[in-house]
């Protein structure tokens, strides 16, 4: 009786294959990276809020923020934030393209994924070069 109950309540049902069964592919990596960058940007918004509140609070609060943003840790975080923002934006554009039913063929998907990675890295480096030039020029 107990056996029958266990058998009926915990019967092994067929499961749909999950991620582990597939060979890792660029497009599925991009899928999870899109989500991870989104989550990163979610918490990064607190930094944006800190920046604005510091500016609104006064010179001392702003100097504190600048000290953080200019530190090694701060710059690493801001560099990562820049890349996450660019990657999530390009990944989002990719999703919008898919929403129009374009770019869904295997070769197109691969190309879009590659363009997202290359584009996000290129834009991040470009923005930081411009940023350093701007800081050197107008201080």
């Amino acid at each position: 009786m107990a056996e029958l109950e266990a058998g009926t309540t915990h019967r092994a049902r067929p499961l749909s294959p999950h991620l582990q069964i597939y060979k890792p592919m660029l497009t599925m990596t991009m899928s999870i990276v899109h989500r991870i960058t989104g989550a990163g940007l979610y918490f990064g918004m607190a930094l944006l809020a800190w920046w604005l509140i510091a500016a609104a609070s006064g010179p001392n609060a702003y100097a504190d923020f600048e000290a953080f943003a200019g530190s090694i840790i701060g710059r690493i975080i801001l560099f990562g934030y820049t890349w996450a923002l660019m990657h999530h934006m390009l990944g989002g554009i990719r999703h919008l393209i898919w929403d129009t039913l374009h770019g869904l063929e295997p070769a197109d998907r691969e190309m879009l994924a590659l363009m997202t990675i290359i584009g996000s890295i290129a834009l991040t480096v470009l923005l930081w070069v411009i940023g350093f030039l701007a800081m050197g020029g107008s201080r």
Binding site: A39, Y42, M45, L52, A56, G92, L127, G131
Partner: protein, 129 residues
């Protein structure tokens, strides 16, 4: 499961799903992502323009109408976008009702606090005092 299930499949499908709100969020996630592209570009340009400037200059620029409007639109649009996005992540990975509920509440609180704080800062920079 089926014994106490009195609602028809149509009733369950209509307007439900894990978030109890149907496909509304799917649509608003797309809408806010379309709006997000120009707003992110705007934010990036504003941040670059402010790099290395003194506090007084930053206050003046952030408080000028056009800049403040772009910043406010970015903050509000992003707040809604990230609220939906984090809710989707929570509903995908947290199945225990207690944790799910606590996380959904925490998500809303975080987004409201961050969004309100950032918006308030822009308004204070705009209207002064």
């Amino acid at each position: 499961m089926t014994a106490r299930q009195m609602r028809t499949p149509m009733r369950r499908v209509r307007g439900l799903g894990a978030a109890r709100s149907g496909t509304n969020h799917f649509w608003y996630q797309r809408l806010t992502s379309v709006a997000g592209v120009p707003l992110v570009i705007g934010l990036v340009l504003i941040v670059i323009a402010l790099l290395g400037r003194s506090h007084a200059a930053v206050v003046q620029i952030l408080g000028s109408p056009l800049i403040a409007i772009v910043m406010l639109l970015f903050i509000l649009n992003t707040a809604y976008h990230m609220w939906i996005g984090m809710q989707e992540i929570i509903l995908d990975y947290l199945h225990d009702d207690k944790w799910k509920l606590a996380s959904l509440i925490g998500n809303t609180f975080y987004v409201v606090v961050v969004g309100f704080a950032a918006s308030y800062a822009i308004l204070k920079l705009s209207f002064g005092v």
